[in-house]
């Protein structure tokens, strides 16, 4: 079954021949043992995720806490060992590469975290922070390294005057630029951006996004852009993957997502994102989901979204839907593609409000 899904995924997603980064059937389970005699429980952080990222493209991974988006990033970077599945970098399987051999591969893949306050060592100067990956990968030494760091700071819009400053002297946006310069230092092909702007002020977010887009054009970098902000993602990515409880529920080109979404969870996520437009806000179809995301230790039977889905039917609790091709995308829902589904998306112009029931 998985094989079939993978092939079909390739049919829709594989438009970028020779992807720079690919994961197939990625699974990550964390065993948890509570107490001496308790049965071992498993956190299903990722369950069979298949994705591919084209050169100089941006793939956004969207979902709420516990959906597995950060675990996915960590498995791609091999910061976590996946339980099953494969990670391919430029077509080469790096899933089981030994620690020693991993370092040269890490040159191709870097990560930028959400919180530049936590990801930069406060005792290091900016020169050492950005110079460190250059030293580790033996790319330059001495004054050549310092020159390279100054050049990198220039590239991210900070001047050489920042070389001898420390993180506490910088604003949030400047720190995130340092984190980006640090990732750029090894000339990677892929940068995983884990919520790179959500800790920043609104007026600074656009600056950092513009910087990331410029770097993508200049250096042909591909991004995995992890975010919970769908309105942002719609504007900056080429592909969008929506995740729920360790699974992809919808995967499509951003162009298609802007037109409509097909999975009820994607729909709820879009409708819950506040719009900076009071008129649109007054008429938009707002779907308020009941309850919280279920525990990934005991994902619901059948469709994992059925406990919160406003359109659930009996079959949803019994049978887990496959991620299947529906029109121009992949959707994990029994009813996607049926005429008039999901209903709220069809009732155009009509206010439809759902109260938790």
């Amino acid at each position: 079954m998985r094989q079939a899904t993978t092939t079909r995924t390739a049919a829709v997603v594989g438009k970028d021949e020779a992807p720079v980064l690919e994961v197939r059937g990625l699974v990550k389970h964390y065993p948890i043992k509570r107490g001496l005699f308790a049965a071992e429980q498993v956190v299903h952080a990722l369950d069979g995720v298949t994705l591919s990222l084209g050169r100089a493209k941006t793939l956004a991974v969207v979902g709420e806490s516990g959906c597995g988006k950060s675990t996915l990033a960590r498995c791609m970077m091999r910061l976590e060992e996946p339980t099953a599945g494969t990670v391919l970098l430029n077509g080469a399987d790096i899933t089981h590469v030994e620690r020693q051999a991993l370092r040269p591969l890490r040159r191709h893949m870097q990560i930028v975290f959400q919180d530049p306050y936590a990801s930069l060592n406060p005792r290091w100067s900016i020169a050492s922070l950005v110079g460190d990956p250059i030293r580790l990968h033996r790319l330059a030494a001495g004054s050549a390294r310092r020159r390279r760091v100054a050049e990198l700071l220039e590239t991210v819009g900070l001047g050489a005057e920042f070389l001898d400053r420390y993180p506490h002297e910088l604003s949030g946006g400047q720190r995130q630029r340092v984190a980006i310069a640090r990732a750029l230092a090894v000339r990677p092909e892929v940068i995983i951006c884990d919520e790179p702007v959500s800790a920043l002020d609104v007026s600074i977010q656009a600056q950092v996004i513009n910087l990331l887009k410029r770097l993508q054009r200049e250096f042909a970098i591909a991004y995995i852009f992890i975010s919970h902000d769908l309105s942002l993602v719609k504007h900056i990515s080429d592909w969008v993957a929506v995740m729920y409880l360790g699974e992809i529920v919808e995967l499509a080109e951003t162009r298609a997502v802007r037109e409509r979404v097909m999975h009820p969870y994607s729909e709820a996520l879009f409708s819950a994102t506040p719009l900076a437009d009071p008129h649109a806000a007054a008429t938009k179809k707002r779907i308020i989901l009941a309850g919280d995301v279920p525990s990934p230790m005991a994902p619901p039977s059948g469709c994992r979204f059925h406990t919160r889905c406003p359109y659930r039917k009996d079959v949803c609790a019994e049978k887990a839907p496959e991620l299947r091709v529906v029109a121009d995308r992949l959707v994990r829902c029994h009813f996607a593609g049926e005429p008039g589904f999901p209903p709220a998306m069809q009732a155009s112009g009509q206010v439809k409000k759902r109260v938790p029931g």
Binding site: E64, S65, S171, G172, G173, Q174, D201, V202, S203, I204, Q205, A206, Q207, I209, N210, K213, R214, H228, L230, S231, L232, K234, H235, I236, A268, L269, S271, A272, T273, P274, L275, A276, D277, P278, H279, A281, R286, I288, L289, G291, D292, V293, P356
Partner: protein
């Protein structure tokens, strides 16, 4: 603009902090009012003074280093600033309640939900012990906590983020306050849970006729929940108006920039609209208008003099020479 009975009236509020590097004016001559059943959004970026202003309303700014240097705060016509410590303590929690961004910080981890909400009921309403559990369960039911009898006996760590925020709201509403101050109430929550909590605040406000002061950096939340909005920059109100007016026709260049950024304008053209530069350090405030180094509409006068607030339309005060000249 407000025809409603004012619940909160703030007039010329200023707050200063004395630090080793000098005196910082965190809130500068701030005025606004909130009517019954009205939600006012106080919007700004970090360092704009919006949270300090909210704390100052309840005299929660610690002195030293902070000090309220000027202004008047009235709740239902009663002056709050001259009150004795004992009197203001009665106002806090009873007539004015506050909820914060991080419910885990505001809840005591070693007490059960019942004990924490019960404390409010006992202190402010003098409820006898035997009635407390029942009242706590009723409050939890009001804020949509499922299985309230079980939840009441649990500790904060047993609850999800959304549930904790509901407990915070239940605690805030325990005394049916006249004014609810919500400081970034959903910033720590996921979007689908954020939608639940905002809807809850909205429906409770209608049911209880509270006034709500919503402090946030998220313009989307303001557009969806507030009636009026005041925009703050470096401690000053730069613009105020009805939500639809501000969003349709922002007059201050900072408001314009914020809105364009919040709508991700410019994405199609390849570069998002950005406000250049950063918020100035409070120790290095520019001469004249504090926004002028980041402003695209700057004229020579902006570098020399600080613009005052003046109405550019009825109920639309704006602090900008250029906008004021437009009229």
């Amino acid at each position: 603009m407000t025809s409603r009975t004012p619940v909160l009236e703030v007039d010329g509020l200023s707050v200063e902090f004395r630090t080793v590097r000098g005196v910082v004016r965190a809130v500068d001559d701030l005025s606004f009012s909130i009517g019954e059943g009205e939600t006012v959004g106080l919007v700004g970026e970090s360092g704009s003074g919006k949270s300090t202003a909210a704390l100052a309303l309840l005299r929660l700014v610690s002195d030293p280093p902070g000090r309220i240097t000027a202004g008047r705060v009235r709740l239902d016509g009663r002056d709050l600033l001259p009150l004795s410590d004992a009197e203001i303590r009665k106002v806090r929690g009873r007539q004015v309640a506050m909820i914060f961004q991080d419910p885990m910080m505001a809840l005591n981890p070693v007490f059960t939900v019942e004990r924490q909400i019960g404390e409010v009921l006992r202190l402010h309403l003098g409820l006898p012990k035997r009635r407390i559990f029942g009242e706590v369960v009723d409050l939890l039911r009001l804020v949509g906590v499922p299985a309230p009898e079980d939840r009441a006996r649990q500790y904060p760590h047993n609850l999800s983020g959304g549930m904790r925020q509901r407990v915070m709201i239940a605690m805030a509403l325990a005394c049916r306050p006249r004014l609810l101050i919500a400081d970034e109430p959903t910033t720590a929550l996921d979007v689908t849970v954020q939608a639940q909590v905002l809807e809850l605040i909205q429906s409770l406000k209608e049911r209880l006729g509270m006034a709500v002061l919503l402090i946030t950096h998220n313009l989307g939340i303001v557009a969806e929940t507030a009636h009026r909005v005041a925009v703050m920059y470096t401690g000053q109100k730069v613009e105020e108006g009805a939500v639809a007016d501000i969003f349709d026709d922002p007059r201050h260049p900072y408001t314009k920039g914020l809105l364009r950024a919040a709508k991700w304008e410019g994405a199609k053209e390849g570069a998002l609209h950005e406000i250049p530069g950063v918020v100035p350090s409070p120790f290095e405030m520019p001469q004249g208008c504090s926004f002028h180094p980041r402003c695209g509409d700057v004229i020579p006068r902006c570098r020399q003099a600080l613009p005052g607030l003046a109405d550019v339309a009825p109920g639309r005060p704006v602090r900008c020479f250029v906008a004021q000249g437009d009229v």
